[in-house]
Subunit: 281 residues, 2 copies
């Protein structure tokens, strides 16, 4: 169940000439709502604004977005104690043609959706993943931001149906590990943590950014760098981050098995103490 | 001006949870309407069906599409003697999430738009182009088909405002010449023509395919192969193909100048005699 709002009014349609629908010309944020409040709002807003700048469209005013989101949370018919919001930014409406009309005006819409917490067993025992055949194309101009061009993720998710597989990990076209279809990935080796640089492709997740800050504050070394696919197999521990579930241990991928290790536990504990209580042991 | 139809009824909205609008999950065709009839319908239909197969969605029945397009041409308020139709195929509607719902049903909508012929001077004297900074990412899974993930083209078109520049040529991330933002490109060297292989990125245009068939029938050698960016500068002649304008000579790109040569004239003459009268001298 969901409720969508445009200009604070509930809607169930958008203009047929919306550029998001015509060309994927826009971006979006998926924001955890906890206790009726958007979690990590400033981080989401920051990525949204950066994304608009990269796409060359005007970002809606921060206060406008924040107030519209707050209004949607109040007006919707959904239990917002634990929910998820999607803000979609469209480059506006326009006639046929890749070129944006000079009078195009950025628009946005907000959807509030029901959400369920991951089962406690997922946090305790870890989750199984697979390695996707679909690769991420290298496109530095779009890397990091959450655009509406997401066919690679759609195709990757279509690769499996087994509900016991929680996520698919993705490589780029040059055999680097990049991220999951809807999450970021971290690998550990001894006392060191590493996560792929999101400079060529992939989405730089909000929870990834939060965890990187937590690690820095806790003086736990974490390298943001290129990670070869082969490093995944050699990792001591693997974990995922995502704005909705927080931090999840990975126990399986592509024939490799890991136990839930102490580094992952430490990161989960840090997150649990810093805004992401879902990760508490 | 345009008119959009869904289920043969005029509409101006689509569902807000349409997957094309959420993730660019779909594809489209842009079809020249000449004398009230879609030009090269079977070629468009073929690419549309191939695209659906590549995306893993059900294509609407061929007769359904053809009849709906014919009905839209009749019902619209536009002079369809010379117009353009867009058929958008969406993977359907669905809740938040990259994974398509098991009950998702492919939908389509048809828009009929006013169109204007290119000025005669463009065909006679050729057109100026630029070399875009935006590169095409290498993604073999999506190469050739006309998906709704078109941000690269949108960003490329945003690079220039000068109306005297008719098209931007695009390289892939490995310095190969691939296509224009909305056209395909051919280069000649002596008596040989070549056009880039569309196997890693780019859209395999309908007019490109038509011209390749015409060349084959006329026993004019045309190589479909990788073309390095440096080959563009060395070309004797350069021309563009596009389903709307047909064939256009290129006289300028990235500091290089070409005259309208005999090979290009020959191709334009072939096209003019085979369904694309716009190209007639």
């Amino acid at each position: 169940m969901s409720t969508w709002f445009v200009d604070r009014k509930p809607v169930d349609t958008i203009p047929i000439d919306d550029r998001a629908a015509q060309y994927g010309d826009g971006l979006f944020e998926t924001i955890a709502i906890r206790g009726g409040t958007p979690r990590f709002w400033t981080l989401h807003l920051d990525r949204l604004q950066q994304g608009c700048e990269r796409l060359g469209i005007d970002a809606p005013a921060a206060e406008t977005l924040q107030e519209a989101l707050a209004a949607a949370i109040i007006a919707c018919d959904i239990d917002t104690d634990f929910a998820v919001a999607r803000i979609t930014i469209s480059a506006g409406t326009g006639p046929r043609g890749y070129r944006r009309p000079t009078d195009a005006q950025t628009s946005f819409r907000i959807g509030i959706f029901e959400s369920r917490a991951m089962p406690a067993t997922a946090y305790r025992d870890g989750v199984e993943t697979r390695l996707c055949r679909t690769r991420l194309a290298i496109q530095t101009q779009l890397a990091g931001i959450k655009t509406i061009n997401r066919l690679e993720q759609v195709l990757a998710c279509a690769e499996w149906n087994d509900a016991s597989i929680v996520e698919g990990l993705m490589l780029d076209t040059e055999d680097r590990l990049i991220c999951g279809t809807m999450s970021n990935v971290f690998v550990t080796s001894g006392k060191t943590i590493a996560t792929p640089a999101i400079t060529r492709c992939g989405v730089a997740g909000i929870m990834r950014r939060h965890v990187l800050t937590l690690l820095e504050n806790a003086r736990i070394a974490c390298d943001v760098r290129d990670i070869a696919a082969t490093e995944l197999q050699a990792a001591d521990e693997v974990f995922l981050t995502n704005s909705q579930f927080g931090v999840l241990p990975v126990t399986r991928c592509a024939g490799q098995a890991w136990s839930v290790g102490s580094m992952t536990r430490q990161v989960m504990s840090l997150a649990a103490g810093n805004g992401v209580p879902e990760c508490a042991p």
